[in-house]
């Protein structure tokens, strides 16, 4: 269960710079960001399109490498600087400690919902045929998709897909969830439903970092930060 003392951050970004190199020239998407995420928080990252929100999430999930600076993450194994891990170690660490939810749901089309949820357990968890199945069922029940467990993703709606993605993010019971515009491609009613699900998870003790450009959600985070042109700002520009 997450630390509730709120004294020590679970994620810490120190002077993170990210520069993209391309044929058109270099582009610095993150300009020396600092950030501390505390256990049990529901942190919102807001900003306009192109502000660098996805880039930031990729830095703290280790999906992409920082150009300079450090990302430190505290987990059962102690405090780790992500850039010290190789690709395989990162994958293992991510699979156990961080659930990730994208705007496009990223489910495997040929696996059933249940198998999609079990996939992280298979790849880096403690796989046990019966127990993992029960765990997946339990998660699908939580997201109210129990009766669709055997369907493949093509036969359910967008909102349902996102709920499966959330269930999958929880499969190895990671303390941290990061979500990049999880409601971005959903209608408002469905989006509300998904958001409530995240609120429930926070109540259950998860630490969540969520990227959104929906300013209406600001009051519902425990804390939010606004990004513009790769730097923190006080107000939405």
């Amino acid at each position: 269960m997450p630390d509730t003392s709120a004294s020590e951050p679970i994620i810490q970004l120190r002077e993170v710079v990210k520069t993209y190199h391309s044929e058109a020239g270099d582009y610095t998407a993150l300009k020396g960001l600092n950030l501390e995420v505390y256990p049990g928080e529901f942190l919102g990252i807001l900003g306009k399109s192109g502000a660098g929100k996805s880039t930031l999430l990729n830095m703290l999930s280790g999906v992409d490498q920082v150009t300079s600076g450090e990302v430190l993450v505290r987990s059962a194994e102690g405090v780790i600087a992500l850039h010290t891990l190789d690709e395989n170690a990162l994958a293992l660490w991510r699979g156990r400690n961080m659930g990730i939810v994208y705007q496009s749901f990223q489910l495997l089309p040929t696996l059933s919902l249940m198998e999609n949820v079990m996939l992280p357990i298979d790849l880096c968890g403690n796989y046990h045929p019966r127990r993992s199945r029960e765990r997946a069922m339990e998660l699908l029940r939580m997201v109210e998709l129990e009766e669709h467990a055997r369907k493949i993703p093509a036969f359910i709606s967008g909102g349902q897909k996102q709920r499966v993605a959330i269930a999958r993010a929880l499969a190895n019971d990671p303390p941290i969830i990061v979500a990049d515009e999880p409601t971005g491609s959903l209608d408002s009613v469905t989006a509300e439903h998904i958001f409530e699900l995240f609120e429930k998870l926070v109540a259950a003790g998860k630490t969540i970092v969520m990227v959104t450009h929906d300013q209406g959600l600001m009051p519902r985070f425990t804390r939010y930060k606004i990004l513009a042109d790769g730097a923190w700002v006080e107000e939405m520009p």
């Binding site: 992409d64 690709e87 994958a91 696996l111 992280p120 790849l123 880096c124």
Partner: protein, 804 residues
């Protein structure tokens, strides 16, 4: 089941067309290897076992007539296990009521019950013919189309026709084992010889040795001593042959032919590998996002790699399920076919462990090896690249726009001349060059398939042309042999009276032995002596010159002499034992000739007839007629036979054309059939490659096709674009195959002709292969793109937009 294995399973199951394509391309290679390796092992073992089981003679002597006294003496020679004597005569036979004569070698056997050497295996009917009956070898039965109980007619040397009842059919793997151009065999009891107007004596001696039956040197030595003793008893030996007991004389030829087929089999495996590589790299590209997701949720490189390796093994296993049972059957079928055409028996159906293991190795290794590169690079993709669909990793690049620009300039140039290239054709052509690596692999397989296909036709024509050229040594339309020599002028004047005759030549001949310097036998030689300016021989000279009228003890000799004297050159001399005398002859020329029955030589009639004290006389005449087709030759043979007999000549035999050339063409047909099957297999692999490529191209362009439809592209137009693309690839490969087929033809004809004729032959190119392949490639590439095109046209806009 663990989700990851479930994913592998659904990857197999979900895209059935792709799975089928990969599995079939592996299976074709496995099948080819299994069939050929299996047949090779079966033939290698059974050919010699069957040969040995019939107790083949180690020594065969064809000689002047002899009787049981000599036979009994020979049986007591030191080192000899057993000896049998037979009489062989060549006679023409036809089924009762037929007009077509077939030449058979009649073997008169002393006692069918006591037969101990060159054993006969009964196949059908009786195995011991009585007087007035005949046994036929399977080959002879097939040629004549008769069955036991039928009556055949034999034309005796004096022209009498005599009916014989077919008592039974036998298999004789030994008697003419060394010579697949030999006439089919028939067997009669030797007490029926008088009825066939033949003396009841022998002219062939078959001997087995009591030791060293598989020792080349010992057999050679024994032949030397036995022959020497027989000659000292006053008999003249014309021709000899030796054979090991446990090695079929054609073993090396058959092995060489199977070796060629094996090489083609390996090539097929190689081609199917490139097809597999192509398909797997497309699969990995399609799975880029899946791989990213797995890595995102904690999958490590080795796990993902493991999944795709298992997928490849599964492809291999499925292919084995199809190909292994088929391969076992096919191997035995091929072995049986070869055994039947050469005339020996197999030891029964069996699984060949070596072939089995080879198939499994090929089936599992081919997908692994072929797929390793795409799988390694595919699974190395990072989460970021996968999720963002980074296109930099695949295809594309600068040269693509180069092709675009070239195409643009080309169409503009054409447009200026008033030729407008239709838009869809342009789209098709540009699409062709999109994924250059895939295009290259597809072109490679299709081109190789085509090049082999075309080459097989060139090789076929070259082989036939060669046999035809060998016919240049036998240009006579009719040969007439008398039982005594006549003055050439006399015979000529009679023959020329027969309508249809253009020219006639009197020939003589001699048999001789070529000796090594130590006096031992190097080779047998038949010396033919036509007039030096004969119009009936057009030799293919390899070195030196053709004969001249004033040549004395000078010889033009066939290339096979090089086996015994590898360094022989025109100007060198040879020791010959000719009609009992040892003489020194000069070799003036060397010519090309197919012959397994020893060496052939030419010397001018002008010299040899004098040496034989028969100047201006001859036993043997060659006639040229006005027409040269088989029917006319047969007609002229009958006319000449009747006319000469009517004038009181002692005609021994008259022959039309040269039947043995037909037999040669027949054995070549078998070989060509195999080569064609292999060529078709490679062509199949090639077109499967094309189908796969078109399928992948269409799949990757789903979105684009949807957009074309959305802006009003009709089904036919979309199908047209895809099919044009397939045809375009097919045509490029046709051009490349044409070029590649040139070296291929040289290479293939080189190894084939060396294997069967022991000599390289001149390559002839025929438009047949080029034309057929053009037709085939058009059909195949349209077919290969029809299904993908149909799929493309069938996609609805909704499906296209849902496609991820």
């Amino acid at each position: 089941m663990r989700p990851r294995w479930k994913k592998v399973l659904t990857d197999l199951w979900d895209n059935k067309a792709r799975t089928l394509l990969v599995v079939l391309s592996i299976a074709i290679g496995v099948l080819a290897i299994g069939v050929i390796a299996g047949a090779y092992v079966i033939i290698d073992a059974d050919m010699s076992v069957s040969y040995a089981a019939h107790n083949p003679a180690n020594l065969e002597l064809r000689m002047q007539d002899f009787d049981t006294d000599l036979l009994d003496a020979v049986r007591h020679y030191h080192g000899i296990a057993d000896a049998e004597a037979r009489r062989a005569i060549s006679l023409s036979v036809r089924p009762q009521g037929s007009e077509v004569w077939t030449k058979l070698d009649f073997i008169a056997v002393q006692d069918f019950k006591e037969n101990r050497i060159n054993l006969l295996t009964p196949v059908e009917g009786a195995d011991q013919p009585h007087n007035g009956e005949i046994l036929l070898e399977e080959d002879a039965r097939d040629k004549l189309g008769v069955a036991p109980g039928d009556v055949v007619e034999v034309r005796l040397r004096d022209g009498t026709i005599k009916p014989l009842r077919v008592a039974g059919i036998v298999q004789d793997p030994t008697t003419s084992a060394a010579d697949f151009l030999a006439a089919p065999l028939a067997y009669v009891p030797d007490d029926s010889l008088p009825d066939l107007h033949q003396p009841q004596t022998f002219n062939r001696l078959y001997i087995t040795l009591d030791s060293g039956q598989d020792d080349e040197d010992h057999i050679r030595e024994m032949l030397f001593t036995v022959k020497d003793k027989i000659e000292k008893s006053g008999y003249y030996v014309g021709f000899t042959r030796r054979s090991k007991t446990h090695q079929h004389p054609l073993a090396s030829t058959v092995n060489a032919v199977l070796g060629i087929l094996m090489a083609l089999g390996v090539l097929i495996v190689f081609l199917s590998s490139s097809l597999i590589a192509n398909t797997l790299s497309a699969l990995l590209q399609q799975h880029m996002r899946h791989i990213g997701v797995m890595k995102l949720v904690g999958g490590r490189n080795y796990q993902v790699l493991g999944m795709y390796l298992v997928l490849m093994l599964a492809f291999g296993l499925l292919a084995l399920l199809i190909a292994v049972p088929l391969g076992g059957q096919g191997a035995y079928g091929l072995a049986l076919f070869i055994a039947n055409s050469i005339g020996f028996a197999l030891q029964g159906y069996r699984i060949v462990p070596l072939a089995f293991v080879a198939q499994i190795a090929v089936g599992l290794l081919v997908p692994l090896v072929a797929g390793l590169a795409p799988v390694l690079s595919g699974t190395r993709i990072t989460v970021l690249q996968a999720i963002s669909g980074d296109p930099a990793r695949f295809g594309g690049g600068v040269s693509e726009s180069l092709i675009d620009r070239t195409l643009l300039r080309l169409t503009q140039a054409l447009a200026r001349r008033g030729i407008h290239t239709p838009r869809p054709v342009l789209i098709s052509i540009r699409n062709t060059f999109r994924n250059k690596r895939r295009l290259a692999l597809t072109l490679f397989t299709l081109t190789m398939g085509g090049a082999i296909f075309i080459s097989v036709f060139n090789v076929r024509t070259s082989l036939y042309r060669f046999v035809q050229q060998v016919g240049n040594y036998f240009l006579a339309d009719v040969s007439v042999d008398f039982s005594k020599s006549y003055r050439i002028h006399k015979v000529e004047s009679y023959i020329k009276q027969v309508p249809g005759v253009v020219a006639v030549e009197g020939w003589t001949y001699a048999t001789a032995e070529i000796l090594y310097p130590d006096g031992s036998l190097a080779d047998n030689i038949n010396i033919l002596a036509p007039p030096a300016n004969t119009s009936l021989v057009s030799p293919l000279m390899v070195a030196g010159r053709w004969m001249r009228p004033d040549d004395v003890r000078k010889l033009v000799i066939s290339e096979s002499i090089l086996d015994a004297y590898p360094d022989l050159q025109p100007g060198d001399t040879l020791r010959l034992k000719i009609e009992g005398k040892e003489e020194t002859w000069e070799v003036v020329g060397i010519f090309k000739f197919v012959g397994l029955e020893g060496t052939l030589g030419y010397a001018p009639y002008e010299y040899l007839s004098r040496a034989q004290n028969r100047a201006n006389r001859a036993f043997s005449y060659r006639v040229i007629t006005e027409e040269h087709d088989r029917a006319y030759q047969n007609l002229m043979r009958q006319r000449l036979d009747a006319s000469l007999r009517a004038h009181g000549f002692q005609v021994e035999d008259t022959t039309a054309g040269l039947a043995s050339l037909d037999d040669a063409s027949e054995s070549l047909d078998i070989l060509i059939t195999f080569l064609l099957i292999m060529a078709l297999l490679t062509a199949t692999v090639g077109s499967m490659g094309l189908a796969g490529t078109m399928g992948m191209n269409v799949l990757e362009r789903t979105r684009e096709i949807g957009i074309m439809r959305a802006i009003g592209g009709t089904d036919t137009r979309i199908m047209g674009i895809v099919i044009t693309e397939g045809l375009f690839i097919g045509l490029i490969s046709w051009v490349l195959a044409d070029i590649l087929s040139v070296p291929f033809s040289y290479f293939l004809s080189g190894i084939v002709s060396r294997a069967i004729f022991n000599t390289p032959i001149q390559v002839v190119f025929t438009p047949t292969g080029f034309g057929l392949w053009l037709g085939l490639v058009i059909i195949l590439s349209s077919l290969a793109s029809v299904l993908p095109a149909y799929n493309a046209a069938r996609l609805t806009i909704r499906e296209v937009l849902a496609y991820e």
